[in-house]
Symmetry: C2
Subunit: 672 residues, 2 copies
Amino acid sequence: MKDIVAYNDIHADHWSRAAAIRTLTLDAVAAANSGHSGMPMGMADVATVLFEKHLKFDAKSPDWFDRDRFILSAGHGSMLLYALLHLTGYEDMTLEQVKNFRQLGAITAGHPEYGHAKGIEVTTGPLGQGIATSVGFAIAEESLRARWGRKVVDHHTYVIAGDGCLMEGVSQEAIAMAGHMKLGRLIVLWDDNGITIDGKVEISDSTEQKLRFKASGWEVIEIDGHDPEAIDAALTRAKASKRPSMIACKTHIALGSSAQDTSKGHGALTDAQLITDTKAAYRWVNGPFEIPAEIKQQWEAIGTRGAADREAWEARVADLSERKQAELARIIAGEPPKKLAATIRALKKQVAETQPKVATRKASEMVLEVVNPVMTETIGGSADLTGSNNTKTADMGVFSPEDRKGRYIHYGIREHGMAAAMNGIALHGGTYPYGGTFMCFTDYARPAMRLSALMGVGVGYVMTHDSIGLGEDGPTHQPVEHLAMLRATPNTLVFRPADVTETAEAWEIALTAKDRPSVLALSRQNLPTVRTEFKTKNLTAQGAYVLAEAEGKRQVILMASGSEVEIAMAARAALQEKGIGTRVVSVPCMELFRQQDEAYRRRVLPAGPVRVAVEAAVRQPWDAFLLGERGREQKAAFVGMDSFGASAPAEVLYEHFGITAAKVAEAAEALL
Amino acid sequence: MKDIVAYNDIHADHWSRAAAIRTLTLDAVAAANSGHSGMPMGMADVATVLFEKHLKFDAKSPDWFDRDRFILSAGHGSMLLYALLHLTGYEDMTLEQVKNFRQLGAITAGHPEYGHAKGIEVTTGPLGQGIATSVGFAIAEESLRARWGRKVVDHHTYVIAGDGCLMEGVSQEAIAMAGHMKLGRLIVLWDDNGITIDGKVEISDSTEQKLRFKASGWEVIEIDGHDPEAIDAALTRAKASKRPSMIACKTHIALGSSAQDTSKGHGALTDAQLITDTKAAYRWVNGPFEIPAEIKQQWEAIGTRGAADREAWEARVADLSERKQAELARIIAGEPPKKLAATIRALKKQVAETQPKVATRKASEMVLEVVNPVMTETIGGSADLTGSNNTKTADMGVFSPEDRKGRYIHYGIREHGMAAAMNGIALHGGTYPYGGTFMCFTDYARPAMRLSALMGVGVGYVMTHDSIGLGEDGPTHQPVEHLAMLRATPNTLVFRPADVTETAEAWEIALTAKDRPSVLALSRQNLPTVRTEFKTKNLTAQGAYVLAEAEGKRQVILMASGSEVEIAMAARAALQEKGIGTRVVSVPCMELFRQQDEAYRRRVLPAGPVRVAVEAAVRQPWDAFLLGERGREQKAAFVGMDSFGASAPAEVLYEHFGITAAKVAEAAEALL
């Protein structure tokens, strides 16, 4: 407490600005009767200096493309961000919103939610995600700076991360990637307060964090996180570094309260006496949510500090050729190039002529080979499975400290870090990221993939080896439940294309989807062309469609996706041979099928015929389609997996698990 | 190549033993025409010295409880393990099995599968899992040694890990935990070969691994991984360390072949000429799969080297009191104590009398409070949410370097590392691990939880805050799709109990399940006692049961789990008031319900009445029960979530998302 008084005396202006953050936090948490007070109270000094002297932004023009990005990885301290946005004058962050902290409909959610308010660059809260996502922001900045020049792109990415962020494994992936790629514009401020929910950090961790960052090639600086001059000097030094920087800020959680330096201080401080005493320690004499005009003015001046810079940038952009200006506007808006549709169409046409038999992972490569040259904002990559995921196309170049224009990233064996970085690349804007791994390892990437969906970010997940068709690597590498998991996740497009045509259509939708992620589940094994006739229309956009109509009376409808469409077609042939009229419905994307109107859905899946679905995965997502619209009676069966896979050649496994045309036909006949 | 000849000359015996591993690998991979040759070829020297001079084991008694554990974290190099097991004389690992590498039904799967063969301590392949699981093995050893003394438990855990393992984030969680806990019996051999699938490690990583381990408090040793004397000396030094040890073994992947030190060497070397040339470099003159008798004898002598130790251990155990012997046998067999059933019953009886209204996370704590004293082999923990998960009971003590008898682990903010460690604790034997986090963060733990299911390990996941009932923390912390994800995973028991009674019953099943993991999805919010009458029988074991029968003609069946059972009961009351006979079926565990015979399932869910399921999560897993047995017509509806949640108080959210008794009753009436 003595320290606070001393700081107050030495840096009076700074301290009253910081106190505004601290008291808004206390008041908002008290009003909500929930939340996290301690972190904003501890990091207010760091944030104040960052916003006052370093962060390049203009609160009145929050979408300015060349702004610095500020990421609150320790998202539970959301009031720190809300207070900063309110104080600096972001229009949507009104005092009313702050007062409604954590209430329904307010933009001030418990954790910062991307899209709720300007200035929230990324959704954080699940620990480690912010720091991992920030790597993507820094990659995008480097990449775009290399391509557009410093006149157009020239900014930093700042992150506040806590002990929780650094304990999560994904932080190691992020730290290693950033160090390896020498992302010098990335600056992480570590809130080194020594406290977690369970108690002191020392009960669960003894890591020398500074040494750990050094081991990954980072610049490491250590300061008193309550000393504004030290904070300023450290930020200046970090900005000058060619390597990413970590500033270890020694802070006191819940500074100035009786809960200071305790795990109690980590949570919601709502006791009235505690709040009164704490405000007194800050020499804060104003009522709840009251910010003296003078202090608000100081903050608002900080908020518009970047206006001149922003105007100069706008002038520089206006100096670009019209073509370049249009191109910049397009990629910032996340619009695909006009040529995309024609490119996809041309490929579909060619494929209808040649009818190739290739794996859909290869099909995906064929698509990317024609897309990447016309859509130069793509940034591809793989978590060390480049040759298996088929994600690298000719002339992409490899992104590295030596080649910032390279458009391919070797993410290493870091599926989780890759997915988080992809989120960051997309959120930064001006780029479209896609990345690959084995479908089974969506498990590793899962927390970041969920955030793609929750934030509504257009990224492309290239998940190959999507079933027991993977073969000999065995059950650890064979997805069984992953399609169900992804389809259960809101706001996610899960594509499982059956051939090159469907793969091209899926990619067209993915590359055009600005507000949700796409997962392409792709086969390892070769698949025949099942859509043999060229159609201009993107049939995959309907989610499911009639691939082959019944001849004669329609008695059976077979539904399938991906590699099992071939099996369904063979089963149809067998059934038709017996005079049993059989329709095959290809289901490349259940989510899009659900979005079709009822008339279409009933046309594709009319009541009456027996239904058999076949997919080399668990049944769960298919039940809805076996049930039929409005619960109308349907005799139905499913041919697929109800256990983990096994290690053997793919064709042996399909036979072993009974996922064959004969079994499908048998299941249909048994229902007739 | 020159090196090899030189080594051959200096250490002729060692080199022919190691060559046996290398050539078996070459032959098995060639026969399978798939697999990974390079890693076993590179690490054969390290493994040979480890097995020859350090690993405490008896190939003829592979289940010996006090054996050292050997974990191949780089599981793609499975032939290294299979070769070692075959050569040292493990009975089930016949030459025939090695010849059938990666074939259906063989115990020699693409990646080592726990349960396939003795000597496979854990399923590996998904990178990083082995090293993370090994932390659990080392915890179990320390814990049991403290409780039983060195005469009964006194062994080491050895791990071979590759670059991929170290790049995965979970390795950081593991390294930090092991260093913090000072697990001196844990020794990691890093296969430092500088190669990944995409190329040289340097294209994706520049981490100074040795510094990174040091930052976490490890002993670090660096050696030439082909020098048997250096390997021996390093292992001796590591065994003497009080801290966990990492031995960086500089090796050549695919040693001696033309693919040495390349990413090609990482994969399957199947070219006949390459194999011939490589064998020549090894001075190996035998045919495929041929091991000269002399070399096999040397290896078999290594295999029985530990027999005397094992016999001495058996004698020491026989010296224990009868009570202690019985207790040791019980915990090794993983049998719960006889008292467990009576303990659960007593709690149920008490609860029926007091009818408490508590959150099921609190209910779980009530169960653990009575279970932990009678089942002293439990090891509890939480990923820094102890007070929220309610996982710590009185008198457990905290496991630490100072208190090895402590039975509670502060895992830190490391859900993934926790889950992997729990797998290791369980696999070691003699202990039952449970651990908690928020249900939403099953995402982080997912790769290890999948392995729990794949291996069939009895562990308990305490996943609290299991829905939007979590409230203000918002959608990042509110599970919506997670029940679907877990229920889609084979061999996993997912419990969502509705009150203290069901929670007690779920725990009884979980603690008794030796061959699969259990997930307890528990509420943050208080729930009334819905099972008001005491029943001796464990009704949760039936998966679903009639909680309240319809009065009058049965027109409606409401199905619900967990916190929504209360809502279903209120909806029933409203419907009955209108004269609509309504049954409520509580569904605490879908998996167990599926395992009941058809007669029971039809008794609980007879055809005819309309069905409404209610769960604050996505619909996907319920479709099967809404469909009804045999696809018979069912008018059905679902009340739940079809989007992510939001930040607001829980009761506001239930209202907002329409998960209320009124909406359930309305849905039922609409179907009548």
